[in-house]
Amino acid sequence: MIQQLPFFYFGGMALVCAILVVASRVAIYSAMALLGMFIHVAGLFIVLDAPFLAGVQLLVYAGAILVLYLFVVMLLNLQGGGSTPLQKQTPWAILLSLLAIGELGYLLVKTHFYPKLPAIPHPSVPTLGNSETIGMVLYTQYLFPFEVASVILLIALVGAIVMARGRGRFRPE
């Protein structure tokens, strides 16, 4: 039970934060709840023996992406939605989510996750998840996708600047 405590804490908090993101009426609260979720997901990564990813999660998500969101929220001066923050299709979306939960839960119960390995060995391989291992794999086996990812980032950089700059055809006359 004591070994499962970190999972329950981090997982539960991540889920609660996610629900808060959806449920909150004010955009800035949603962003802050998302920050909480990122941090707790990072905690889960540590529990799962992925400290490097946990660091990346904190740096990229909590450090860069969320700040970007906060900038935008503040830039646009969002004070909450219009008359209601929710769409007209909300009841149907809730129904769909219940269906999805039911189906996924059913699948989960029905599926046997490699029954020969009952649980996660802890600590399994000391080197798994550390930066050295990831670096070795990333720069050898996954070198090409890695380069592609860098190009994607470059394109995103340029695209974001072009679109947010505001000149050109997107600008109202």
């Binding site: 949603s30 935008v72 209601t84 998840g129 995103a156």
Partner: protein
Amino acid sequence: MVPLSWYVALSAMMFVTGLVGVLIRRNIVVVLLCIEIMLNAVNINFVAFSDYLHLIDGQIFVFFVITVAAAEVAIGLGIIISLFRLKESVNMDDYNLLKL
């Protein structure tokens, strides 16, 4: 000893939460935030399986997902700013450009 299925269940619940958020929120920024939730739910799954199967590839994928998420956020927010300039609104209702 946390069973793998628990992680999968957690991931599923977070994913559906994000999905509901995408479907019901009017604020486009919050919709983008909900997409982040869904990506994170997937990431949890990847890492859990990676740890469980002793395979590093899952973590590599998470790495790429984070990269793509960063790119998506940058582009998405750029689009939102452009749209805001055009429509003076961040409500999805006002963005019915797909309708003739």
